[in-house]
Symmetry: C2
Subunit: 331 residues, 2 copies
């Protein structure tokens, strides 16, 4: 069965995902006080794709790391990611996440702020466990990722009240908000795996570009996913009046009544759930769904090109499989 | 003039405080986007006592560190402290801080959450700059301080809805919420100063006990300070219905109508500003003001005893001056 490379990759991913889930669950369940760690567990237990730990693990392997201790670093990036989800959900006033209520809805605002904070604190606590000679470099990369995420989120919020956001502005924003974290995961994986400069920068490049592709895919799923699989409200970005890739591209390409419909959404800082099909229809008519798909392919190609210096064909194949899975994901 | 040791200490403190203020200001003013760093600057520019940087600097000196790079670590602990202030003020629904509006009042909730997050991120960024061989130890101490602060804050919020909080519970809570950070400042100072195990643990002990004394003093000032100097509303803890040392001690010592008055406050989760003088009067009658003062002296003595292994009399004298200043502070 394992002769089929895709099946082998899926099996590696599943194995690692289960290990990460188990460790995450163990870390938070034994900490006290419960008033702090139970809410933190709630978001962690709602699972997720655990893609960021996978990036750490695969990057360490590709950098030549054998039998390196990575378990703690792998859970650290997932804890950091969940910190951003908890605080972002508050700021976006989101009700649902992974099919469950968001933390501030399930508990309350204060609990969610503090649970987010402690997820970040515990992320550093665990990352440190896997750092040895290169603690300073690993921690600096992790911290850079965190700073970038905060800056990206701030730009994202800024865009809500900015009139002329360009597609370039948008790409710069997601570079910080989403791509910086994926880049960091690959970078610390490569560092912990003992990679040389060339490998570290190749893997960091992969992370950055795949992160951009991932975010555009996320924007696309917001309108194209099936609610049963998605775990969030379809069209949530439109309801919130978010300037996504799709929306900005549509604004660029539209004229007359179509443009007015988009500008009306902006003026009202969003739309209602019943109007989502009209926007979906407009996006399809303008061809921005196709534009987004092409953009995703463009950045995925860049991500994979970044890896051409990797020695082993198997490593490159594994990252290619990962990139394909991300493009074809439905949630 | 400098022959008077107190004047010499004050001059050292002033010099270091100015350096810390300058560096803090420089760090945040040159970062972008402004939507993120301007609010972060707002809380930092509202000044503060900068006691935590002083603990780092004095501990490094006492641990034998000469010409060590500490500037970045000194600002890092202040950034971390301000992160806790911003998020705590949201959770406590506080309107004023250091005589100015709190961040979520001056801006809005989302801005304050994110400004807090980035203050923490930048704290790590700067701490890392001063870490070399012992990055792992320094970062682990810093992170332990952060985890403890989150746990302490959670316990503090838990107490709001817990009926039987004992003085011991309270001390355990402030050990985490306040003392852990002071302990961490002394510990990383000692580590960066190249201290040996014995010095590191002596200084950490000082930090812990002075931190407890500091918090009880804070509780005392909440009712005994002059509003013009304090920068916050007098009796804010009573208005919020907080179970401080004074309140818990009063509950322990009171009977009859006095106890009913305290229980009535608990039932109503606080009181109104016009009732503060009645509580102040009750505290004085029950002698809990004196009890708090004695408790402060007890923990300050423990803090200073912890330093008896320090070799230089001048170092011990400096910490004694610092402890005295904290006991006698008015804000």
């Amino acid at each position: 069965m394992k002769n089929n490379p895709v099946e082998k990759f899926i099996s590696i991913y599943e194995k690692e995902r289960i290990k990460v889930d188990k460790k995450l669950s163990k870390i938070l369940s034994r900490k006290k006080p419960a008033s702090l760690y139970e809410p933190a567990s709630f978001i962690i237990e709602s699972k997720g794709k655990r893609l960021r730990p996978l990036l750490v693990i695969l990057s360490a392997k590709a950098a030549g790391g054998k039998n390196v201790n990575l378990k703690n670093a792998a859970v650290a990036v997932e804890l950091l990611h969940n910190f951003t989800l908890v605080h972002d959900d508050i700021m976006d006033n989101a009700d649902k996440r992974r099919g469950k209520p968001t933390l501030h809805k399930k508990y309350d605002l204060n609990t969610a702020i503090l649970a987010g904070d402690v997820l970040l604190a515990v992320a550093y606590e665990y990352l440190l466990k896997d750092c040895n000679g290169n603690a300073k470099q690993v921690l600096a990369s992790f911290t850079k990722g965190l700073v970038d995420v905060c800056e990206g989120q701030s730009l994202d919020k800024e865009f809500e009240t900015t009139d002329n956001v360009s597609i370039n502005d948008y790409i710069r924003m997601i570079e910080k908000k989403t791509a910086a974290m994926a880049k960091m995961c690959c970078e610390i994986g490569a560092l912990l795996g003992g990679g040389r400069k060339k490998e570290i920068s190749a893997l960091a490049g992969f992370g950055k570009y795949i992160g951009i592709a991932f975010q555009i895919q996320d924007d696309l799923l917001d309108i194209m996913a099936l609610e049963s699989e998605f775990g969030k409200v379809i069209g949530g970005d439109l309801i919130e009046g978010k300037k996504t890739f799709l929306f900005l591209k549509a604004l660029e390409k539209s004229e007359g009544q179509d443009k007015e419909m988009l500008l009306y959404l902006l003026k009202n800082k969003g739309t209602t759930e019943d109007r989502i099909p009209n926007f979906k229809n407009l996006y399809e008519r303008l061809g921005v769904i196709e534009d987004a798909k092409m953009e995703i392919v463009k950045y995925t190609t860049r991500a994979l090109s970044s890896l051409k210096t990797l020695k082993k064909a198997e490593d490159r194949a594994m990252f290619r499989w990962l990139a394909d899975s991300l493009i074809n994901r439905t949630k």
